[in-house]
Symmetry: C2
Subunit: 771 residues, 2 copies
């Protein structure tokens, strides 16, 4: 954590300087005053934004500060100035600092919320955004791309910010390298707290992307250090490094569904990071390696259950003579002095091999080039419960040299790669809730000293390796708790995302007229309890918060919806996460039970339907394009006499997007649902979108699918994870209950079919290439 | 030339050090003594090789010297120790110096003559080869690849050597980057004299190759400075830079048929080099640019007639999302402060565009991506005679910004790119034979200062640009002659390739018996004069030097060859460059007039047939695989009643090789040649092999081709430059006299055909992809 203190010092010094030398301080109260103050600023000027809400403010922060006398734009009180509406901040010039702002309740009308250039002639250098928050500042539509922090130029800094809640397309932070002005940039992304980024449901949901394939040859030298990444679940890549010589040091990846990926570019250093899982979630990954010359050293991996692409260390196969935007071979990589505790599959090689898909893919897509000239040495692995393979070879790891690695695998045998991985007996020492260190490494086990290994001078905690060096991430055993999850060490001085626990309030409703008002008055997580027997509902009920609607007592309450055709009983708005429980829902055959908005779903919705009887709707659930729910669940529910069932198939652009991460149908009963019984779609060939999860279990489907044009009862084209188990299918007029995608994680078991066609597996699915 | 003196100083210092501190000096006289001395060497040891010839010596120079006390292996007298036979030198260790050796009369039995590693564990660092010569040290077969100097490791030096005469496959010098031991290598290739490398006749004939496409992402930092490249004609690339951050400074490219090419890799600096042409040869090129971020500054281009790939500045189109081994787009390139004097086509953009070949090439071969973010500024062009286009746009140069360039084009109009190229009136000032500088640049023309242009601190001659800066390669006009062609400034202290002129001697021969002996006794360039009328020759005459055989008087002398079937009258051995003049050659219908050896053609041959009557042979000329002649010429010659004519079509591996660079048929008469009248072949799709040159002019072909299977009289498949002009074709039983390749430089004019089929042009030729 030494770097942390270094930046803190620089930061303090910087402010002391400006404090002593500044020329003028301007308190500004209107957008125009702000614009004028910027226009008139000179080195040492401090522009102070009056506390309050600033709406529709387009800040082009032009100026030429100096190292000693920067130009500062700050909140009167840090955190008391909110930037709302259609607003952005663009830096153009040098030695400019912005601090204390809170971006919320709005979105950028341009391509970025914070941009380090104004135009191609006005690019930022030595500019800093610090102590700010950007929260839920989403474009209205999921497919409208933007960045929240967009780096250009050189020596710019994003420090001590809290950034969370991006749902629309585009990485949260991007570093650009187009143009010689932006190479060798030495940007610093340090001490930030990257709060939850929900699953996007498709690609382009990275938290940090550094470069792109077209600039993957550029020398970058961006430093990403001492940040906390908490539940950064946007997509499979938390950080996508696509250029050269970047450094990732001392970051904490906490329960984040993704990996740090060296997607393009080479010679990156991944040193002293923490990857903390929860012992269950298989989406929480580690480090995925592509390309040449990376060093993965001193990292700590704890309780990670990810496999394959999401392994703690996933080394990919490359494409021979790969196109620029695909997968170069892994060469000259060093993986040394890392520690893995209770990880399901610590090391995987040949990840992404697809030699057996040569039938459906062009040669330029076949990943057959295995890692070469790669060294894995001085690592420690501890498994509370022994695992079958320390190294999973999706393709042979014959280009990898294993040296002086040790494993306590509780006696379960494994391949030892010419003695490069040795079984020893270790003990776990608890340092903190999320750090347990294997101790008891035999004293006579000297670290292997490969080429340039002498440059690895420190361990995970910054202690010297020069004397008493040992293998594993940590030298020595007397370790103080590093408090890696102390959130005061990251992000702003004034904002916390820790939510105080609050008891949900139950709001009683006794008739249809007061239902919407009570919902509007409720807070997140509250419960709406319906008394009485039947509610006649004429207009859609708008849901824009996390709320449960249920019968007050054990007896189901019936809602008869008489609203217009193609309108829903429950309209799921952005952030509308609805649970309905113990109800009977009845439509007029032309309207819908549930639907998202047709547009402007600027944030995710969610739906849990539990113990409900649904009938006589045109659609049970209709999800429109650019809408996304992390979870949609039907359980203990019967659906009957509907024209259509559950439809999530409007993401037809074949760019890898889909409408829900998890669709779960458990213990349900479908009867006489004529079409789209379940229709869940993801299109586009994209080996690194691992999403779409469909579980259908313990359910009965009868007399369904009569009007299904493609004669398939359950449609899940392109969904990667499908499990159909313990169901009964009878008298469904289809050819196939399901067509499974054999090459992916699609499976079925214990299903009973009568008069319902078959379940078929197709190994390879021909899909549109996305790249 | 400041760097030159710097290295000289380092060099001297280095020797002074070792001189004062050395421990032991061993004079060794046998291979075994040498090997033992190496085994016993320690820092400061000097191993001295006894003057004389060292045969079959395999030097594995292992050792650990120190900076102050290197281990030195040297000739007793520099230049008096020759390494011959099957020999090589390999460095393994550090601070090792080899000096004063002469490699000749042999070849390496391994993959390199001088190798900077012994094996993967013993790699050289801080080792130096200096003051040595490698001359004609060719493998026996052209297709047997080797390198003459093969760099591995870091900080190795090739300095003050003379290297010339490589004819076999493989670059003369290669820098390797496989493995982290060899990146960031800072090798120095300085002060060398690269003497003539003859045209290879196909690819893989570079003088220096730095990296390859598979390591094109590696940081290299090799310095190539102050070298003289003289007639380095091996292939289109004199230097092929395939990695990043290399520097090419103050080199002189003198009448070398090729270019300095940034083939792969990025961010190279090409600063202060001289490219000197001869006002005629279109093969003498300049700088060809591919990829990102190169700076081309302060260079001087004189009398260059190259165009297209061989333009003084050739900026190529890239392939979108190019495969790793093909062509990335050009981006972020700076071309500034260069001076071009009397160049035929100073700047070409979109070179290599092949959009119109989409029919015959896969999409991954189509070069359609134009240069972007590229700046051309502050350059000076002077044309004694105005040219049509200063910028040739093979594809639009719309991604290029032109700023403050000036041209004296003698009033001939040109496209000025928004005023970025201005016409001015200049004068030429002669500095030396090969340097003429345009002077009279208007004082008010300030240089354009693009991003980072302030880093261009010096001009071509090392003078400061800080004050009184001006556009063009040179600041100021009072320039002393830099003597760039003073050969004592390059190469060794003891070897010169300057050949004293010598009058040829004429050797008189009066009968067949003494013919071979006289040839054997003759020296290069001598003349064998035949008296008498008829010579009956029974065995092949071996030719292994440059020699002319002619009738002593004006009357033709007749040679009747009665040798065995498929043996030649004249056997063209390596270095056998034969001119025959004023003869009559007669065979027995089963033997050949001329042929190369069937194998081991370790050096080129040549053939000029002038004023000769040839008849009754099976083949007039049979050239076997792996044989190569720079020139084959028939003039004023009649060829009649032969089964086959001139055959150069055995390079059928389709890797771009061919058997002669120039095949010229002028003023000849072919009659009753039944097949292979002229058969000249080059196979393989390779846009950068520009060779094969066929000229057929002022000749008559009658009654030929009767047995030609493909019904074409003249076969020249794959030959890039073909000109068929002013010939008469009559009564040849073929469908086509020639099928021209429209997309390349194939043309015909003023030919008269009667009863001989047609001449056809096919725009695109389907060829095997080489990559």
């Amino acid at each position: 954590m030494k770097i942390y203190f270094y930046f803190l010092t620089v930061f303090i010094l910087c402010f002391s300087c400006s404090e002593t030398k500044k020329n003028t301080t301007n308190l500004v109260k209107t957008n125009q005053e702000l614009y004028d103050a910027i226009k008139n600023a000179s080195p040492g000027t401090e522009i102070v934004l009056n506390n309050g809400v600033w709406n529709d403010v387009e800040i082009k922060f032009r100026g030429q500060g100096t190292k000693d006398q920067p130009i500062i734009l700050k909140a009167e009180t840090a955190g008391k100035v909110s930037i709302e509406g259609k607003s952005y901040l663009k830096f153009g010039g040098q030695f400019l600092i912005v601090e204390g702002l809170h971006f919320k309740n709005g979105y950028s009308p341009s391509g970025a919320v914070v941009d380090f250039k104004i135009n191609d002639e006005e690019i930022a250098n030595n500019c800093t955004l610090t102590n700010c928050v950007i929260e839920d500042f989403n474009k209205l539509k999921r497919d409208d791309t933007d960045l929240w922090v967009n780096f250009w130029g050189r020596h710019n800094v994003l420090s001590n910010c809290y950034i969370a809640g991006k749902t629309n397309r585009g990485p949260t932070v991007r570093v650009n390298l187009e143009g010689i002005e932006s190479i060798n940039n030495y940007h610093q992304i340090v001490n930030n707290h990257f709060g939850p980024r929900p699953v996007k449901g498709g690609p382009s949901g990275e938290t940090i992307q550094i470069g792109n394939s077209y600039t993957s040859m550029a020398p970058c030298y961006t430093m990403v250090a001492n940040n906390l990444f908490e539940a950064c679940n946007g997509e499979v890549e938390i950080i996508s490094s696509k250029t050269n010589f970047n450094e990732f040091r001392n970051n904490v990846f906490y329960k984040s569904e993704g990996s740090l990926v060296t997607r393009h570019g080479n010679y990156c250093t991944i040193d002293g990071n923490y990857f903390i899982g929860d012992s269950e979630n298989e989406n929480i990954g580690g480090i995925r390696i592509i390309n040449t010359g990376h060093w993965v050293i001193n990292n700590y991996f704890f309780n990670l259950k990810g496999k394959s692409f999401r392994s703690p260390l996933a080394v990919m196969n490359g494409i021979p003579k790969s196109p620029q935007n695909r997968y170069n071979q892994v060469t000259d990589v060093v993986v040394a002095y890392n520690t893995y505790v209770n990880c399901a599959s610590p090391w995987q090689f040949g990840v992404g091999t697809n030699i057996d898909q040569a039938d459906v893919l062009p040669l330029s897509e076949i990943r057959s080039a295995r890692a070469v000239r790669t060294t894995v040495a001085n690592n420690v692995i501890y498994n509370e419960k022994g695992i079958d393979a320390i190294v999973v070879e999706n393709d042979k790891a014959d280009g990898v040299t294993f040296k002086n690695n040790i494993v306590d695998n509780k006696g379960v045998a494994f391949k030892d790669f010419d003695g490069g991985i040795k079984e020893v007996s270790l003990e776990l020492k608890t340092i903190s809730e999320n750090i347990q260190l294997p101790v008891g490494i035999p004293n006579d086990l000297e670290p292997y000293m490969g080429f340039d290994f002498n440059t690895i001078e420190k361990d995970l905690f910054g202690n010297s390796r020069k004397e008493n060096n040992s293998i594993g991430a940590v030298v020595g055993v007397d370790i103080a708790n590093p408090n890696i999850l102390d959130k005061t060490k990251y992000g702003t001085s004034w904002y916390s995302n820790v939510v105080e626990p609050r008891e949900p309030i139950t709001h009683n409703v006794s008739n249809a007229n007061e239902l919407q008002d009570k919902i509007n008055a409720a807070s997140n997580d509250d419960i709406i309890a319906l008394s009485g027997e039947v509610y006649n509902i004429q207009n859609s009920i708008e849901i824009n918060k996390t709320i449960t609607i249920q019968a007050k007592d054990k007896t189901k309450v019936q809602l008869n919806y008489t609203g217009a055709a193609e309108t829903p009983l429950f309209a799921l708005n952005p952030k509308g996460k609805l649970t309905v429980n113990n109800l009977v829902l009845k439509g007029n055959n032309s309207n819908f039970a549930f639907a998202s908005l047709k547009e402007n779903m600027s944030n995710h919705f969610g739906l849990t339907v539990s113990n409900v009887e649904i009938s006589d709707f045109n659609y049970v659930l209709k999800v429109y394009k650019e809408s996304f729910a992390e979870r949609i669940t039907f359980e203990g529910t019967s659906i009957s006499d509907c024209e259509n069932g559950i439809e999530l198939s409007e993401e037809t652009n074949d760019k890898g997007d889909y409408n829900t991460e998890y669709l779960t149908i458990n213990n349900c009963n479908f009867n006489n649902v004529k079409a789209n019984v379940i229709d869940y779609y993801r299109g586009g060939y994209d080996e690194s979108t691992i999403g779409g999860n469909l579980l259908i279990s313990n359910s009965t489907f009868a007399n369904c699918g009569a009007k299904e044009k493609n004669k398939r009862l359950v449609n899940h084209t392109g969904i990667v994870n499908v499990n159909i188990t313990n169901n009964v299918f009878k008298n469904n007029a289809v050819n196939f209950v399901s067509v499974l995608w054999g090459a992916k994680n699609n499976k079925e078991s214990n299903n009973t079919l009568s008069n319902s066609g078959k379940i078929k597996t197709e190994e390879n699915l021909e899909m549109k290439l996305m790249y």
